[in-house]
Amino acid sequence: RLLGKRSLPEGAVNGIEIYSTKINCKVTSRFAHNVVTTRAVNRADTAKEVSFDVELPKTAFITNFTLTIDGVTYPGHVKEKEVAKKQYEKAVSQGKTAGLVKASGRKLEKFTVSVNVAAGSKVTFELTYEELLKRHKGKYEMYLKVQPKQLVKHFEIDAHIFEPQGISMLDAEASFITNDLLGSALTKSFSGKKGHVSFKPSLDQQRSCPTCTDSLLNGDFTITYDVNRESPANIQIVNGYFVHFFAPQGLPVVPKNVVFVIDVSGSMYGRKLEQTKDALLKILEDMREEDHLNFILFSSDVTTWKEHLVQATPENLQEARAFVKSIQDQGSTNLNDGLLRGISMLNTAREEHRVPERSTSIVIMLTDGDANSGESRPEKIQENVRNAIGGKFPLYNLGFGNNLNYNFLESLALENDGFARRIYEDSDANLQLHGFYEEVANPLLTSVEMEYPKNAILDLTQNSYQHFYDGSEIVVAGRLADEDMNSFKADVKGHGALNDLTFTEEVDLKETEAALKEREYIFGNYIERLWAYLTIEQLLEKRKNARGEEKENLTAQALDLSLKYHFVTPLTSMVVTKPEDNEDQTAIADKPGEEQAQAASQTSFSAYRTSYQPPLGSAASYQPPLGTPYYYVDGD
């Protein structure tokens, strides 16, 4: 009798077998370099289309994408967006297959590309992206989306972390790891400066059930870690570039004066208002007694809880809770007057010494729509708010849902030293609101200035911040004017809750450089790339509020750096051209902005690749006919 082991179907789906997917992450001093490689083979008798999907963080920049077909590699080239667009349009107009990459979602952007692969051929997709991991609530978080379309023989996430300050904690969690079986595929370890996370499930471990052929790997994979902080700052210098990380610990929280400027217009009716109230009630629980607060509600009119800011005493908080519970929606959106009332209240409180001398003021505005009552011209509102705040404190804008001009809110916040955050309409909107508050609830320092020796530094990234928040980190990078200098000194000045502080960090250049030469872990010029990443990010941010010549200059600088360092930013695209059937096939990787991502999600774009056949005889000057979907989404 022949005994045979029943072989479970595995591998090929519709003729395509994805036999390997590897996510290789190398993090050096918070700068993450991730390479996603997928290998597939066409087992069918005919040519087949193979897709490659990767979701990457919005804060990341793609730096490379290559296609390798039967051993021949087609590299990606970063080009100015206009140049790439022309190339793309040309390919489309000639009826050739054109791939496109775009984005959507809360934290992620989606990169999708497909190619036709001949029968029996192998294809390798390799996407590289880089990002600077930001510290939130005391830890850095690296977020990976895992969603293979089929069981993969060799599936692996391999993350190596190298932190010169030493790693204090390291954890990795996956939303889909629900049983011990899959848990055994995950290993995490750290010692000294090095950390390692490996997730390598076998084929059987990937099955959603013992006899299933679909994968249970579907969800979020998150690596979190933090570094040792024996000293408040750390400066690293390699090849003439430096990075300065600053995150002091052990300082008391500066008392804060917060006005919550809340949109209660009719559109907030229902779940949105209930979630806002839930979040405000939770925020009230977190208030410290030395804090001061008030609520400004705006609809067609403006109403306030109290005439002035009041201290967060237990009695006042009790009263505040009752007030929040009583909030009702009504009327339209007079955002301008709401904001101005809140700002004026903070200014008056300071002038009349109603708040502690050593305290800091914050405006948090939440709206779900555009201004349509009172002053509704965005430029005028910006001017009014700018003049009223006068650079004295930050404004944070929370945009609830999609029916609003997010760019306006972002612009308004950025020019007043704050930032905007989108609150996604979902069951967890209250948690998103509360989570945002937690980020800004604990200022440890105000008016933070990072000072470096004059004439010794070039191309410095932003070095002054209104606040340093507990659990966050300030990162400044720059270039040394003289690479042969022996020592380097940085002073960080700030106002604390009790006193003024000046932290001094002095480093010996040779010693630092020698200490960082652990070649095995460091990808060459990481500080230079970190500097370029940060500079581009800040130039793009500044550009949002710039006009005319200033905007042109900022654009030119950001574009120049994007091209030089091979970053796909909102100003550039990556073009991969491969000859196919003696014709060109072009794939483009783009970086969409917030508005485009939203637009895309609203119009439910699901295909990122088109294979237009233009009307006969019109190939050279083809324009898509009216009503025909046009698959190019500009990221800028």
């Binding site: 002091p248 052990g250 003024d500």
Partner: protein
């Protein structure tokens, strides 16, 4: 711990030891007028050295308080904490940081020392003495120096504070002692006659590792006769 009292008028110095159990807190300075108080807590070696009859003791924790500013500074060999009515700031000896507020300036020089000034005229320096972490006997300890006390009042007291006012002493009858290099003598101070021994102690302000030798007349028995009362009078229950 050892105490050195420099008497510039006589270009000389007096020194004495206080031997007490680890954990004991001693009052070093107390000035009711300025509201400044400095106390020090004693620590000992990890264990007695095989060639020493007694266990050596040092200061392991210092408490500096200003009643007028409602401010406290606790210095240990690990960290420096600063309190006022609003809250606490904590710094490490790995920081180089200057903290300023009305009437206070405090600078920590990474792994070396800490300089605290209360306005013009009162400046203390705390020296961090670090030893090899795995040393079988010794452990890190602190040194405390008063570099400026001219704004402290005439009512200042404490093991160090009582010597901020001008005082006089006379040494006579220098004669050989039990050790050939350390002659004994008779000292008249505060209307008392004491037998003292010529010796030396080290000032570590300039060089925390090697220090600078300071020749001094050593007063035996926990400074008995030199200090007002007896040393146990300076034991206080808490650092603050």
């Amino acid at each position: 711990p050892h105490f050195i009292i420099q008497v510039p008028e006589q270009d000389n110095a007096i020194c004495f030891n206080i031997d007490e159990e680890p954990g004991t807190v001693l009052r070093l300075i107390q000035d009711p007028a300025t509201g400044l108080t400095v106390n020090g807590q004693i620590i000992g070696d990890k264990k007695s050295s095989p060639d020493s009859a007694t266990r050596k003791t040092y200061f392991g924790k210092l408490g500096i308080a200003s009643a007028h500013m409602d401010l406290r500074i606790e210095v240990t060999t690990e960290k420096i904490s600063l309190w006022n009515e609003v809250g606490r700031s904590t710094f490490s000896w790995l920081d180089t940081v200057t903290v300023t507020q009305d009437g206070l300036s405090m600078t920590i020089n990474r792994k070396k020392n800490m300089v605290v000034s209360f306005g013009e005229g009162v400046t203390f320096v705390v020296i961090l003495h670090q030893v090899w972490k795995n040393h079988p006997i010794h452990q890190d300890f602190l040194g405390f120096y008063v570099v400026d006390s001219h704004r402290m009042s005439a009512w200042t007291h404490g093991l160090l504070g009582q010597f901020f006012h001008p005082f006089d002493f006379k040494v006579s009858d220098v004669h050989p002692g039990s050790e050939p290099t350390k002659p004994d003598a008779t000292m008249v101070v505060k209307n008392r006659q004491l037998t003292v021994t010529r010796g030396s102690q080290r000032d570590y302000r300039m060089d925390a590792r090697a220090g600078t030798k300071v020749a001094c007349w050593f007063v035996h028995n926990n400074g008995e006769g030199l200090i007002d009362g007896v040393h146990t009078d300076y034991i206080v229950p808490n650092l603050f």
